[in-house]
């Protein structure tokens, strides 16, 4: 096998333990759920989990790179919402499907690039920039579409994105797997992957070694926005509606939680798409399990917060 010499496949002690603990935790969780509720293991349920996590998974994969550079993107929720809205409104307005999709995706890309530009070139702090952008995008969406839900009818091709299946697996899951595979490949086998790792580890050293660090960072945020837009299109297709009110606060938490559970450091540096996918699956399984076991919503929220805090704390303590 042509192995690129990647040190972050052999992490330092703490992350290795956490990363190493995750697959085991996932297996343990799955086994426990299977025992408590055999219906968990049904094909329909398992596919259901995948469909549930597809949206978050797409965003989490892209967010991994952003977090690896030491940044964060809090604006993915509104971007998701507004991209879906744009797609729906365009279709309603008579645009062809490819055009509508292109508009939505370009919007996400543009917002991401704007974030990236402010963060990489003006050196403004990512939390504040993306928090502001969250507000700006949400407000813009509400301005364009109001707080209403906009339905879309008679668009079978569009509906297929969110509700269609290909050999048994929902199309949205294929998209998720496609995005994850592409980014995984990029991380392991392309110069970009090495560049992102270098950037995250020591941006100044990477710059002094001749890399275009600021441009790369900007494009990484652009990718994040693009993926949020893709998720928005899928969601709009799934529920046949677009609205500026979707992607409520909590979306970013799910995405960031998945990335962080996967062992990527918020301070930048180490990170792995593969482990993010594991994190996504873990959270998805947890959500699904809690639903199957009829755990009330509020407890679910609390549990999520506690688990994230505990997982991170454990990782820190071993340091």
């Amino acid at each position: 096998m042509n192995m690129v010499v990647r040190a972050n496949e052999r992490w330092g002690v703490a992350s290795e333990r956490l990363g190493g603990a995750l697959p085991i935790a996932l297996v343990v969780l799955a086994v426990a759920l299977a025992v408590m509720q055999p219906a968990f293991l049904s094909v329909a349920n398992l596919i259901g989990i995948l469909r549930q996590v597809a949206l978050v998974g797409i965003m989490a994969a892209a967010m991994t790179f952003v977090i690896m550079t030491g940044g964060i993107d809090l604006s993915v929720g509104p971007v998701l919402a507004v991209a879906g809205l744009v797609a729906v409104l365009s279709l309603d307005g008579g645009a062809a499907l490819p055009v509508a999709l292109l508009l939505a995706l370009l919007l996400g890309l543009a917002v991401g690039l704007l974030n990236g530009c402010l963060i990489a070139f003006l050196r403004l702090p990512p939390i504040i920039v993306t928090l502001s952008m969250l507000s700006i995008v949400r407000g813009s969406g509400l301005l364009v579409g109001g707080p209403d839900l906009h339905g879309v009818r008679g668009q079978p091709a569009f509906s297929f994105i969110g509700t269609g299946s290909v050999i048994g697996l929902p199309f949205s899951v294929w998209l998720f797997l496609g995005v994850a595979a592409a980014l995984l490949f990029a991380q392991r086998r392309t110069p970009l992957g090495l560049l992102v790792a270098a950037l995250g580890d020591n941006e100044r050293a990477a710059w002094l070694s001749g890399h275009r660090t600021r441009l790369t960072t900007m494009w990484l945020y652009g990718l994040c926005g693009l993926c949020a837009a893709l998720a928005g299109v899928i969601q709009a297709s799934q529920v046949h509606t677009g609205s500026a009110t979707y992607g409520e606060f909590g979306t970013e938490l799910d995405v960031i939680a998945a990335v962080v559970l996967g062992g990527t450091q918020l301070t930048g540096g180490k990170g792995s798409i593969a482990r993010t996918v594991l994190g996504v699956l873990f959270l998805g399984t947890l959500n699904n399990g809690m639903n199957i076991l009829n755990v009330p919503i509020d407890i679910q929220l609390i549990a999520k917060g506690v688990i994230i805090a505990a997982a991170l704390g454990l990782g820190q303590l071993r340091r």
């Binding site: 813009s140 909590g250 960031i256 609390i302 506690v306 805090a309």
Partner: protein, 336 residues
Amino acid sequence: MIRRHGISALPIFFLVTFAFFCAVVPRFATAGNLEALMAGYAFIAIVAMGESFAILLRGVDLSVGAVMALAGMVAFDASLILHLPGYLSVALALVVATFAGVLNGLLIVFLRLQPFIATLATLAAYRGIVFAISGRQLVPGLSTTALDDPWIIGLETYFDVGATLGVESIAVPAIPLSFLLMIVLLVLFEVLLRSTRFGRDFYATGGNPEAARLAGIDLRRTVLIGYALSGFCAGVAALLLVARLTTSTEALGNGMELTAIAAAVIGGVRLNGGMGSMWGPVVGTFLLGVVLMGLTLFGISQFVQQILTGAVLLAAIAHSRWLQSRRLLPSAPEGS
């Protein structure tokens, strides 16, 4: 002094903005509008002060909105379900809010989580708890019942200054209790930060934690108290808001973290920690208030206002960075 450029410019900027809107918007500075401004933003200013404690320590508190909802719901439930006397409901709400802040501090100090992720996690947990204890869900009839306990409702009082002073000719705005409460807290916090040893320790912890540690300052205690204060302020603000609404909802305080951080940043509280005052966030809040109120009176929709809040925050932080790059504002300490 050039060094203080970024901070002393703020009151001037505020007055300029105020004057601008007075000129552009007809009937801007009426007594009614000023009352609305004070009543509408005093509690936000209190949250902003609390948030500033977290930012001064090089951290951030993203859970302030959730803590507000929690405190509000606790007061609601205590009063309408448990039928506790008002003063107990108020006290309970404040205790819960402060404790929520302490929990944030514990996660940061003992689990060594980054403030951003710790408060993001508690944000989710607290919102969850709010849903769990929500009186409106537990007892259906309550969602339409108004709070009527005098201790709580009494928080929404106005002092007719004009009548007291016997001024007849011009309409003097009545001063809301919330505004006075804000002033009291402002003074108390300023004295705490500027004139007590704890205050000096606080700035040291945020400005250069290593130096603080070597000087024997208890970093853990400082951080815990800082986040406790943030929670406390969120609690006070929640009570004021609940008094105004005569009810509490699960969505109370939604988005408050953005406004609080914006007000603090506009007010010159530096994100790197160690620099800022309590005046800044207060003036920053009312600056935002003037702008938003002016825009509303001008007929600009609240969606545009949402956009503008974000844009103003961006502008404020960009301005701050620009000043730092021109060395007019000191940036992070060298060699630390």
